[in-house]
């Protein structure tokens, strides 16, 4: 008896060690950093959690929020306080595991103690589009389509999620869009807009789904209703939609497509549904071609001080810029010396000047086009050429200022700042390639990093005074938060960031946080 007892005890000693959590034997990748308003978030795909760095106070705080298995994509919400994460889930291939469906997690990082809201989205989508008002999200497959797992694939499937409502049988709504042999290449959500004359006067979000030769419109507030497909190849020309801009006050969208000669105006107009048809829409799209002519390469939309809406379209094949009055569809052609393919408006909220550049040809100049007095057809539209001396590869507007950062080479080693008001150009010399940059929330500083150089470079945009701060290790990316703090991410798989209270801070005022992606690692279950 004693022998049996003793043998049992010894056997139990070896057998009763707890099982190791499976998470620690998985391959681990980190999604992010995803900059939020005053936080930065990462997603750990092995430990199935969101780790966020909360920089709302003087002392950084690290929070970890568990989510589902196999995170595939993360994006911030419209207000940049939440993180939306799609998880692929897991099939229970071993006894003891549980099946987990693909889900979209809405993680409220302002209240990380609250459980994230999990919406079952049905398929492992790898992209999310979020409306500007944060009410609607659309999960869809990227152009590369579903991943290798699974059996059948349906790249035209989408999930429409009402983020204001709790998950239910009717939320999200899964929908397969009518296809004409093509698959979606992108989804753009409109700002909230109401359909004039419709019985339902509420503002809604419309999803515009791009695919080869087709744009599909879905009313996101009534995603169970039928979608509307707009064939773009009626003339037999192959067309790929590229860009859409909205005029929400008039429920209008302007679509630019590769292969199309003109800008397509899409007006959502009231169309009472057939009684008894629960899936009928209460709107219909009215189409009109705005005469850009020559195939627009870029478009921009703005309202002038009289609230008249204008569309500016660049047609490089005809070396023209076309200015279209959207109320009357009348247009004015402005001949440009260069084949313009990029239009940048200054200032963005009430533009008075358009910077026209030819990125495709890399010409060493830009044109400044005045947007004032466009309605006066007797007054010519002024163009002013600004010689920059070096090819123009990109034009980036500086927030809150009439300045544009001009990139002169593909490696972003040569830059200049264009003052749109005066037409002056200030060349900038750097130590190397500008791998990452950000403008501070106030728009006072440009902050840049080079991967091989352990420094943060600052440029005071009020007087273009350069300064820099030596870091302890080279940064991979610099992020500017809404509260003015700057974060240099060093790309360490366990997390290493240098946090600055603001641009121009000294080393004494900065702090390095190391290993935060492993926070409470040993207490993970």
């Amino acid at each position: 008896m004693r022998l049996v007892l003793f043998t049992t005890v010894v056997s139990l000693v070896a057998a009763c060690s707890p099982e190791r959590p499976e998470a620690f034997d998985r391959a681990r990748t980190v999604l992010g950093p995803v900059p939020l308003k005053n936080r930065i978030a990462w997603v750990d795909t092995a430990l199935d959690r969101v780790v966020a760095l909360d920089l709302t106070t003087d002392s950084p705080r690290v929070v970890a929020v568990p989510i589902g298995r196999n995170a595939v994509y993360a994006t911030p919400s419209a207000d940049r306080d939440h993180l939306l994460v799609i998880t692929r889930g897991e099939e229970a291939l071993a006894r003891g595991r549980q099946d987990e469906p693909p889900r979209l997690f809405d993680v409220d990082l302002t209240n990380p103690d609250n459980d994230p809201v999990a919406y079952e989205v049905g398929s492992p989508f790898d992209r999310i589009a979020v409306s500007n008002d944060g009410r609607v999200a659309v999960a869809y497959f990227s152009a590369k389509g579903p991943d290798d797992a699974g059996f059948f694939r349906n790249p035209n499937e989408m999930a429409f999620i009402d983020l204001q409502s709790q998950p239910s049988d009717a939320n999200p709504i899964l929908k397969t869009l009518r296809a004409f042999g093509s698959t979606p290449t992108g989804v753009v959500l409109s700002p909230p807009m109401s359909v004039p004359g419709a019985d339902d006067p509420s503002e809604r979000t419309f999803a515009f789904v791009f695919s080869h030769n087709v744009v599909t419109v879905v009313d996101c507030q009534h995603a169970d209703r039928a979608e509307v497909s707009l064939r773009l190849d009626a003339t037999g020309v192959s067309v790929d939609p590229q860009e859409i801009v909205f005029a929400p006050a008039s429920s209008t969208a302007y679509l630019r497509s590769n292969g199309a000669r003109d800008v397509l105006q899409i007006i959502l107009d009231s169309d009472p549904p057939v009684p008894g048809d629960a899936h009928a829409n209460d709107y219909r799209p009215l189409l009109a071609e705005l005469g850009a002519g020559g195939g627009p390469a870029d478009i921009a939309v703005f309202d002038d001080p009289t609230h008249k809406r204008w569309v500016v379209a660049a047609t490089p094949t005809t070396s023209e810029v076309v200015v279209i009055d959207t109320e009357t569809a009348q247009f004015r052609r402005v001949a440009t010396p260069d084949p313009i393919d990029r239009i940048t408006l200054f200032p963005p909220d009430e533009p008075t000047v358009a910077v026209l550049s030819s990125l495709g040809t890399g010409l060493p100049r830009v044109q400044l086009m005045s947007l004032e007095h466009l309605a006066d057809t007797l007054q010519s539209i002024r163009l002013q050429a600004i010689d920059l001396g070096k090819p123009v590869r990109d034009v980036v507007p500086v927030p809150g200022r009439d300045l544009a950062m001009v990139v002169h080479d593909d490696n972003r080693t040569v830059l200049s700042l264009l003052d749109v008001t005066f037409g002056s150009v200030a060349p900038l010399d750097g130590v190397g390639r500008l791998d990452s940059y950000a403008f501070t929330a106030s728009g006072d500083y440009l902050v840049g990093t080079t991967a091989s150089v352990p420094r943060l470079g600052f440029l005071d945009l009020s007087n273009l005074h350069p300064s820099d701060l030596r870091l302890d290790t080279p940064p991979v990316r610099v992020l500017a938060l809404g509260n003015g703090k700057l974060v240099a991410d060093h790309g360490d798989p366990f997390g290493r960031v240098t946090i600055l209270p603001g641009a121009g801070a000294t080393r004494d005022q900065s702090i390095v946080l190391d290993g935060f992606l492993l926070t409470d690692f040993f207490q993970e279950r």
């Binding site: 707890p18 034997d25 366990f494 290993g515």
Partner: protein, 235 residues
Amino acid sequence: MLRTITLFIAATSAAAYAQPAEQAEANARADAPSWRFDMGSSTRWFRDPSAIIATNDQLASFVMSAEHGLGTVELPRGFALELGVDAMWANGSAAGSMFQTLETSIGTNDLLGGVHASVRALRILAVTARAQAGASHVDLSIAPSGQPQMASVDDGGWARTLAGSVGAEIEPIAMPQVRLGFGMELGYLATSGVEMHASPTNAPDPDRSIETAYQSIGHLDLDGWTLRISAHLSF
């Protein structure tokens, strides 16, 4: 291996209860040696999830101890209880992997002192019990595979430790002044958790670097069942 050990302990324990009382009485009367030195190895099966996260291997330790006899107490039925105080040092290590790309390493140095009691059941066989308390220094390293010098976590700390065990010893050479033998003990070692931080091996000089906060990665707790096999010399 475990089965062999089990059978050994079981057999010796069973034999201990079957001894003639006269023989035990004679042994109890014998003069017990004053000093004893042990040397052996120990295996610990971790019980706490934090340790199992760090490694799914067992902790293997080299153990040395010294013991001074306090005397003998006569028990009923002719048994004699030998008591001693001991001091023990153990050096252990365990290695593991994590996320398929990281190597983990746990190192321990245990410094324990306590009481050791044994009852001589036969001339060459004794059953023993041990209770100890002390401290352990626990080291943890997490580094990319093949690059231990690049560890992102290289930290350590002291833990309070309590240990208790029971076992059996065989002394083929058991003379009045010298005994030589070997034994086996099964026990449990409890430690307080050690808070570990993500401090890297190549951490910069604090005087020449930006103030750095190393994030706590939680408490590493190395509680576990232990099996110790050792040889000893008493004189």
